[in-house]
Amino acid sequence: MSQQQIHGVAAAFNSPEALLHAAKEVRKQGFSKVEAYTPFPIHGIDDVLGIPPSRLGYFVIVGGLTGTTLALLLQWWTGAGDPNSIPAWTALVPYPLVIGGKPLFAFEPSIPITFELTVLLSAFTTVFGMIGLNKLPRFYHPVFNFKNSPRITDDQFVLVIENTDPKFDAHEATRLFQNLHADAVEMIEE
C-alpha cells in the first residue's frame, strides 16, 4: 500500500487514561495531525491534541440577535407600520388594530415574543452551527475502515495519526502505537 492510499494509522485503546497517555506520547514524538475518536468526550484531550476552543458561541450570538430584531420588526410593522413600507407586489400590508385603547406598538407587551424568537433562532443556530462546523452529515469517513471502528461508539478509544502529517511515516507510527500497548493497530485506507 502506498502512502497516498492510506488515510493514516489507527490504534485502539481500552480506557480514556490509556488514550490520553498515548496522545501525549504521540505529540511528544512530533506528530501534529492527530485525531482521537471516543465514545464520550474525554476531558483534557483538546489540550493534548492542540484543538482550539469552539467558535460556536459567536454564531449563536448573531443568530440570537437576528431573532430579537425580526421579532421586534414583526410586531412593530404588522401593528403600527407604514402601509407603503414594503413593495406592493409582496401584497403585504400592516393592519393596525386598536384594542382596549392600547398603543399600536410598545416595548412592554412585545417582550415575551421577542424573547421567544431570540431563543428560537439561537437554538437553531446552535444546532445547525454545530452540525455545520463538524461538516456533518458525512456518511463516509476513512476511520470507518478501521476494523475496531464500531467500538468507537461502544468502549474503545481510538487515536489516528493522519497521512497529512509532515512527519507521517506509516511504519514508524505503527511501531509507536505498538510500543504504547494499543489493543489494535491498523493502517486505514483513504
Binding site: 468526550p41 444546532v127 461508539t153
Partner: protein, 467 residues
C-alpha cells in the same frame, strides 16, 4: 501505618454510585441497546395496542368536535374555558420536568440527571404534543389555525395577530418550547444513534446511520458538540421558566378575581416542575422495572426526584396560602369571595382534593423510607398528578363560575366528549412514549459512560485526589 484510604463500600454509603453493578462501558452500551435490539416483547404489543386504541378514541372525539362544534364540550357561559385549558396547562406543566432535568440540572452539574434525562426529554415532547391538541382544536377549524395563530400572510383573516395578547404570546412560547426541546433531544441522541448504527445491520443500520449524520466521535466534533449542548442548556433554562410564566399570563393578565395576581408566574413554574417530576416518577418506576434498568436508574435517582417533589410541593403549598392571605389582606371583597368560594363553595371537593394531593401527600417524602420505596413513591406520584390536574381545574372553573352578577352564576359539568378527549390524550402520550422506548435508546448512553469514567476515577484514587 494505618491505612486511611476509603474503601468503595464506605464511599458508596456516603455518596451512592450512580452507575451500579460493576458496569463497564461495554455493559452500559449492551444494557441500553438490548432494549431496542431484542424481539418486540408481547407485553409491549399489549400496552401499545391499548394505547393506540385510546389515542384513536381521541381522534374520534376530535373529529366529532370538528363536525358538531365546541358546544360538544361542556364549556358554556359563564365557564367559557374549562377542561380544554385545564388539560392544556396540565400537559404543558408535565413537560417542564424534562427540560429541568436536561437543562437546569446540567448547568448545576448534577450528574444524577444522566440516567433519566433522555426519557424525561421524550416525555416533554410527548406532553407538549398532547397539550397542543387543545388550543389547536379549540379553534374549531384546526386546518386554518395556522393563519390565526402564526403570522402567515393569508386571505383567510386579512389581518395580523394581536401581539399584545397573552394568548398570542402563548402561541410563540409553546411552539418555541416544543421546537427547542426537540432540537435538544435530537442533539443528545446523535452519539447514541451512532452506537445503535454500529451494532445494527441491514435497514436498521441505514436508518440509524442517516439520523446519526455519520457521527464518528472525533475529538474535534465533541468540542463543538459539548459547546452546543451547553448553549442549548443555557437557552432552555430561561425558556422553560418563560413558558409557564407566559401560560400563567393567560390568566394573570386578565382582570378576573382569582386570576389577576402577580404570584402566578413563579407559582405556575413551581407547580409545573412539581407535576412533571411526579410524571417522571410514574413513568420511570415502571420503565426501570420493565426494561431491567435498576442498576442505571438507581434508588438514588428516584430519591433525588422525591426531594425535588417535596421542595416544589412546599412552594406550591406556600403559594396556596399566600393567595388566600392576599385575598383577605387586599381588602377586595370580590377577590376574597372568589377564594372563600373556592374552598367552601360548590367546588369545595375539587379544592380539598388539590390540597390533599399537592400539600399533604408530598410530606411523606420527609422520611427516607418513603423516598426510597418504589411502590410508595409510585402511588404518591399518581396522587400528585391528580392533584395538579385539580389545581388547574380549581383555578379555572372556580374563578369563572361565579362572577359579579349572581344571576349569571353557573356550574360547569364536563360532557362525555370532554372526558373521552382527555383520556384520549393520555393514549396519544403513551403511544408516543412506547414507540420511543421501542426504537430509541431510553438512556443517554454516552453521557452515562462519562459519569462512569468519573466514578471509576474516584473509586480508583479516592475522593479529592483530582481537585
Amino acid at each position: 501505618m494505618a491505612d486511611f484510604a476509603l474503601n468503595p463500600e464506605m464511599v458508596d454509603k456516603v455518596t451512592p454510585r450512580l452507575v451500579k453493578g460493576n458496569s463497564t462501558y461495554k455493559s452500559v452500551t449492551d444494557d441500553v441497546s438490548r432494549i431496542v435490539e431484542t424481539k418486540t416483547p408481547r407485553e409491549w404489543w399489549i400496552a401499545f395496542s391499548l394505547s393506540v386504541a385510546v389515542a384513536l378514541m381521541m381522534v374520534g372525539m376530535l373529529a366529532y368536535l370538528v363536525a358538531f362544534g365546541i358546544g360538544t364540550w361542556g364549556n358554556n357561559s359563564p365557564v367559557g374555558w374549562a377542561w380544554d385549558i385545564t388539560n392544556f396547562v396540565w400537559w404543558i406543566g408535565i413537560g417542564h420536568a424534562g427540560t429541568l432535568i436536561s437543562a437546569i440540572l446540567f448547568l448545576f452539574r448534577q450528574k444524577w440527571r444522566t440516567s433519566i434525562n433522555r426519557a424525561a426529554e421524550a416525555m416533554t415532547l410527548f406532553a407538549v404534543a398532547a397539550a397542543a391538541q387543545y388550543p389547536l382544536f379549540h379553534t374549531g377549524r384546526p386546518w386554518r389555525a395556522i393563519y390565526w395563530l402564526f403570522p402567515v400572510p393569508n386571505t383567510d383573516l386579512n389581518m395580523w395577530q394581536n401581539y399584545r395578547s397573552p394568548l398570542e404570546w402563548d402561541v410563540f412560547a409553546v411552539s418555541t418550547y416544543g421546537t427547542v426541546s426537540l432540537l435538544f433531544w435530537y442533539v443528545g441522541l446523535i452519539p447514541d444513534l451512532a452506537t445503535l448504527r454500529d451494532r445494527a445491520s441491514g435497514v436498521r443500520a441505514y436508518i440509524y446511520g442517516i439520523f446519526s449524520l455519520g457521527w464518528r466521535g472525533a475529538a474535534r466534533h465533541w468540542r463543538h458538540y459539548e459547546m452546543a449542548y451547553m448553549i442549548l442548556a443555557g437557552l432552555s433554562t430561561p425558556l422553560v421558566l418563560s413558558v409557564h410564566t407566559i401560560v400563567s399570563f393567560d390568566f394573570a393578565v386578565s382582570i378576573l378575581p382569582g386570576w389577576h395576581t402577580t404570584i402566578f408566574p413563579p407559582y405556575f413554574v413551581a407547580g409545573a416542575i412539581f407535576s412533571g417530576f411526579a410524571m417522571v416518577i410514574t413513568l420511570m418506576t415502571v420503565a426501570r422495572w420493565a426494561l431491567k434498568l435498576e442498576h442505571l436508574i438507581t434508588i438514588k435517582h428516584l430519591e433525588n426526584m422525591c426531594k425535588v417533589i417535596l421542595a416544589t410541593g412546599m412552594i406550591v403549598g406556600y403559594a396556596y396560602g399566600t393567595e388566600f392571605f392576599i385575598a383577605w389582606y387586599s381588602g377586595n371583597p370580590y377577590e376574597l369571595f372568589t377564594f372563600v368560594n373556592r374552598a367552601f363553595g360548590p367546588y369545595w371537593w375539587a379544592y380539598w382534593s388539590m390540597i390533599s394531593c399537592n400539600v399533604l401527600v408530598p410530606q411523606i417524602f420527609w422520611f427516607k423510607k418513603c423516598r426510597t420505596s418504589v411502590p410508595i413513591m409510585f402511588i404518591a406520584s399518581i396522587f400528585i398528578n391528580i392533584g395538579m390536574w385539580f389545581e388547574r381545574f380549581v383555578i379555572i372553573a372556580t374563578s369563572l363560575h361565579r362572577d359579579y352578577l349572581p344571576g349569571s352564576w353557573g356550574y360547569f359539568k364536563p360532557t362525555m366528549v370532554d372526558i373521552c378527549t382527555f383520556i384520549g390524550t393520555m393514549g396519544l402520550f403513551m403511544t408516543l412514549f412506547l414507540l420511543f422506548i421501542r426504537f430509541l435508546p431510553v438512556i443517554a448512553i454516552s453521557e452515562v459512560k462519562g459519569v462512569l469514567a468519573q466514578e471509576d476515577q474516584v473509586a480508583k484514587h479516592g475522593h479529592g485526589a483530582h481537585h
